[in-house]
Subunit: 194 residues, 2 copies
């Protein structure tokens, strides 16, 4: 997705230790039109898989997942990190490392909204270590639903997430792939949207 790549080059900031600041268009401030385009492109890529639900984790996964769900004509479910009073006692829960809190956080999904018969596309803003997405995959399995694909807005291949997720045997696709952030640079994989 060339528009996204151009935006990362123009506004993304390499903060070192693999941290990419994209909070002017992906998280904190969100470019709604760009996210709409991202959702269209992810939906196109995962069309014909019979997706019934798009699953993501709050918070920054919500925008791209919502736009993908809109394009696919299905609901989105976002795993909660704090249990709301409206959530039932029995839930599906897995933990993943938190980027901001420096410890494990719980991801929680109500059995009301994920179950056998669901064909689930997981969408997140970043595919990095793959640990958050892996926790979501476990929730899909706990619910007896079927994982059919994994999509991300930005993949950082040097954090190894794809290797963690590959064994699930479903298509994994990122709109933009970054292969290195060494020496203060941002290096993209060869080719468009790869």
């Amino acid at each position: 997705m060339e528009s996204l790549k151009a935006r990362i080059l123009a506004e993304g900031r390499n903060m070192g230790r693999g941290i990419l600041k994209v909070d002017s268009f992906v998280n904190h401030q969100v470019d709604a039109a760009l996210m709409y385009e991202a959702g269209q492109e992810l939906a196109r890529r995962f069309a014909n898989l019979g997706v019934t639900k798009v699953l993501t984790a709050e918070i920054s996964g919500i925008a791209p997942a919502l736009m993908t769900a809109l394009a696919l004509g299905v609901p989105i479910v976002y795993a909660r990190k704090t249990k709301p009073i409206t959530m039932p006692e029995r839930i599906y829960t897995r933990t993943a490392p938190s980027h901001t809190k420096g410890h494990e956080v719980a991801l929680m999904v109500s059995p009301e909204f994920l179950g056998p018969g669901d064909r689930v596309l997981i969408v997140d803003d970043f595919l990095a270590t793959g640990k958050t997405i892996d926790a979501l995959v476990q929730i899909v399995r706990d619910a007896g639903a079927e994982l059919v694909g994994i999509g991300a807005v930005i993949e950082k291949t040097f954090e190894g997430g794809r290797a963690v997720l590959e064994h699930y045997g479903v298509p994994i696709y990122a709109l933009v792939t970054i292969t290195s952030m060494e020496d203060g640079k941002i290096t993209f994989a060869n080719g468009v949207g790869q």
Copy 2:
């Protein structure tokens, strides 16, 4: 918005103490098409105000605010409740009571994304006590930006939020207005979307 009202009647659950469970289509699980329609309708209502940013608070405000921003052709900014490592030292921050955590939470916005010259529409899923929205208004003022309107998906008039916000002198509009949740019922205001 009749489709939303119908959905609340079909799926909303009155949990007592003014708590309305709408997590099958507004939060946790989100009906992307319904949120798109909500965004279109809020954008129509606040058209011609020269909105440059839609502001909301994570988490459940993101979906309706994003769709409103998409319809208005402007970015959305969501106030963070946990400070990410990508956020600068100096930020705008105000506190609001948390529904789920039972104490005050900080709402944080980076000065990079809100400032003088911005004309801000605040959008949230609920207008209830008005305290979260009031904290967002304070952030708009701290940033030297101008508040031009307040929109919500669902207003619960019996929690008094409108009275808290009225003195700001900007249009306040909710897609659906609930006047009472007593005796296990959900009572809507007279008229469509009011």
